[in-house]
Amino acid sequence: MNNIDGSDRHLKTEEAPPPSLLTIVLDTNPHAWAHLSSTLSLSAALANILIFINAHLASGNTNEVAVIASHSHKTSYLYPTKTPSQPTRNGDTNGDVEMNGNGTGRSHQESPNKYRPFAVVESTILQNFAKLLNETNESHLAATPTTLIGGALSLALTYISKSTLQHAPVTSGTENSMAALADAENVHVDRVALTSRILIVSVSGDLANQYIPVMNSIFAAQRKKIPIDILKLAGDTVLLQQASDATGGVYMKPERPEGLLQYLMMAFLPDATARASLVIPSAGGVDFRAACFCHRKVVDVGFVCSVCLSIFCEPNLPDNLCLTCGSYLSLRAALTNPPALIPKKKKKKRKAGTDTATPGGSTPAGSSTPVHP
């Protein structure tokens, strides 16, 4: 009888976890991969990542994935890609609806051993990746030894933002509620909020020259509560460590890059729902050093503009103006007084009444409120 009582008016509990969008930023910097080729080649890494993507898609029926390549001269989507005049398919939820990315869906050989949604994602990624590599020529490689991680990050954030909007639950619109009442077919009530995360598979070091864009992306991600996971296969950057630390993501720098798949499966596959009950690996000590705005060098001690908080590594600014905000900033004064660590004077045990210079401090313990002259 008890459960007639109002306490049992439970809502249907949503047991299924919310759909999860995994955005992978793959660092495809040819210089770094060439350096790493003895232990883990790029093709092997890509094969491992494809399996990881399949595992992610299999983990939830509504899970989605996006892959962005951060190359040496440009960043581009590997999946999903725009395919004009492609009929969208209704039954398939494992993918973006508008940018379905199965331009090759019908043409490629159907394998009876492969789950179709997996095959579609894989072939698209491989095709776009091959296209990206073919477009790269020597002048691109000679221009820079590093990768455009800042651009890729912001691309990932914009994609996530767009997908989140598409998945947002319908708000109770009052303007045409009567239309919605009669037209139940066109109202999508089953949309659940999307949880997103970014995984950066990074191989390049020395990203300090992109300090500002990367830092801005990190703060944007922090604000949107998007964890940035870092898998650091080679090189070391202060920046990415900070990214995972600030956004609450996973940071891993594997000792043995050849075991990439196991690292991915164990540490990076759990989504937000699973992470609630798991202990996730993170960077032990985070290097919080910043890069200066003038030469993009990582500095231990620098100079900070008092107006816009820009960081500079040396005091010789042109015209004594801040490079970022243009306000007057004379750092010479700071130079004449080099910041030095002054050893703290050993506090002597003060005897009550001996130090009369500071009236407040001279109050003997237990006395009443000091009376100021």
């Binding site: 009888m1 459960n3 007639i4 109002g6 008016r9 809502l11 249907k12 949503e14 047991e15 299924a16 976890p17 399996i51 399949n54 595992a55 299999a58 983990s59 939830g60 029926n61 509504t62 398919r89 209704n90 039954g91 939820t93 159907e110 394998s111 009876p112 051993n113 492969k114 789950y115 179709r116 997996f118 095959a119 894989e122 319908v170 109770s172 509620s177 919605a180 009442l181 009669a182 139940a184 077919e185 066109n186 109202v187 999508h188 009530v189 089953d190 798949l261 196991q262 499966m265 164990m266 596959l269 759990p270 729902t273 699973a274 609630a276 009950s277 798991l278 202990v279």
Partner: protein, 466 residues
């Protein structure tokens, strides 16, 4: 939302013996479907973490991986994995327990993810030569076909009780299936729906399909069919592509026999009895995904997305009910527990009264069934409320039912005669973590659980080390 519709399938799978599981896990498609649809979320994470692990996973490390507050979730995940025989737990020489995936499951899941299998378990597309002479079948046509077939079955069930005189003809095999599953009984030559039948009708389409298929699975041994073959084929159907023709050449004799039965239900489509290709319909391809198959309330709008549940029922706190539907089946179902008053081209209106609910209860429908039906098909406007149905209505339906019956029964096991209070406490706590504890009495030192396997294994393992 995937949980409710496939939970019966999970229950059925959990009841299967080890040998059947072993044979089932030979096919990558089956393993993938089980992984995607049956496992709790944390169990998926566990499986994936262990999939490419070179050695087995020591229990101490597993415990370290979980946060201290998550023991309940962990136990539940391990419980399901152990029941499905996915996880093997062995004791090392030094007394430590280690977990590993069962080899067959591991191999097949790897094949599924890598696409490296050799057995074509994801369906062999029909070759050009095989599909010659077959007309191309559009997705819309398949949807229509599936809908028509499935609604005929539902009509056959509700027709008699609702007083709607519809002489719908369904195949002898399907009829037998419905009778075997005790969804329908024959009174005076007329099919009469049973309590189980009502539960069935009130579910979402996807859950209905699974329900019927499970009845089918229970029957297959009598028909001399191979249970494993049947299950593998069902899971394969779930991973096929809608609108694509598939070859029948690689199917076993059992599976060919199944094709006939399934096409009668509208789950697959074949143009003729001995066609060499078959088309899975939406009922089949959504078997292992959460979006419900067909939209029964919808009008001719077949191109609309097959979103999980199209709500169309509005209930007011004065017990008035409005349903935006023109589907005869839905009207028939609603009329089972509601006094209908008006009918318009796209709308019916009625009132929930004490008499109408009593009538439903006397026919074997329970209040929770009515409420779950109303909740499932609640109109989007209603779904914005905290509880979809007004609380007063919900309570009143329950009260009306409780006027008649007051006892619910559940099968399970009573655990008693614990020697010490500590032992009792410990085992009870474990049972609670597994989510099988139903009732307990600390004074009498006994408790009641719904499933005994995991708890008895726990008791054994406790005895072991001492």
């Amino acid at each position: 939302m995937s949980a409710p519709s496939s939970s019966q399938a999970l229950e059925y799978l959990q009841g299967l013996p080890l040998q059947t599981h072993r044979r089932l896990y030979e096919a990558p498609a089956t393993v993938l479907a089980v992984f995607r649809c049956m496992l709790p979320h944390l169990a998926k994470t566990l499986v994936m973490a262990m999939l490419y692990m070179p050695a087995s996973f020591p229990e101490s490390q597993l415990n370290a991986w979980f946060k201290p507050g998550a023991t309940r979730e962990k136990s539940h995940a391990l419980f399901v994995l152990a029941q499905l025989h996915i996880l093997d737990t062995t004791r090392e020489d030094d007394g430590k327990r280690t977990h590993s995936l069962s080899p067959g499951f591991k191999r097949s899941l790897r094949h599924a993810l890598e696409g490296s299998g050799r057995d074509g378990s994801f369906g062999v597309s029909a070759t050009a030569e095989e599909s010659r002479g077959e007309r191309r079948v559009s997705v819309e046509y398949l949807d229509e076909y599936a809908k028509a077939q499935w609604e005929t079955i539902l009509f056959y069930m509700v027709g008699g009780a609702a007083g709607v005189d519809v002489k719908s003809e369904i195949g002898a095999g399907t009829k037998k299936l419905l009778h075997t599953g005790d969804l329908v009984r024959t009174f005076h030559g007329q099919p009469r729906i049973t309590k189980e039948g009502f539960t069935f009708v009130l579910q979402e389409t996807n859950a209905q399909v699974w329900n019927l298929l499970i009845v089918y699975l229970r029957m297959v041994n009598d028909l001399g069919m191979n249970e494993t073959d049947v299950l593998s084929f069902l899971f394969m159907l779930g991973s096929l592509e809608l609108g694509q023709a598939y070859s029948t050449s690689t199917l076993t004799a059992t599976q060919l026999q199944m094709l006939d039965d399934l096409s009668a239900m509208g789950i697959v489509f074949r143009s003729t009895k001995d066609a060499r290709v078959f088309y899975p319909t939406r009922l089949a391809t959504t078997l292992t995904s959460e979006s419900g198959g067909l939209n029964t309330s919808g009008s001719s709008n077949s191109s609309s997305t097959s979103s999980a549940s199209q709500g169309f029922i509005i209930i007011e706190t004065n017990y008035r009910l409005y349903a935006y539907t023109n589907s005869l089946i839905q009207i028939a179902i609603i009329s089972l527990f509601c006094k209908l008053q008006h009918r318009f081209p796209n709308l019916i209106s009625g009132k929930l009264t004490k008499e109408s609910v009593h009538k439903a209860v006397s026919q074997g429908i329970t209040s929770s069934q009515i409420i779950s039906y109303l909740t499932t098909y609640a109109h989007p406007q209603m779904q914005k409320n905290k509880t979809f149905i007004p609380p007063t209505v919900m309570d009143q339906i329950r009260l009306w039912e409780y006027e008649g019956e007051r006892v619910e029964t559940e099968n399970g096991y009573l655990m008693r005669e614990f020697s010490t209070q500590a032992e009792y406490k410990d085992v009870k706590k474990y049972a609670e973590e597994c989510g099988v504890l139903k009732w307990s009495s600390d004074e009498k030192r006994m408790f009641f659980i719904s499933h005994v396997e995991q708890v008895s294994a726990y008791l054994k393992s406790k005895k072991g080390p001492r």
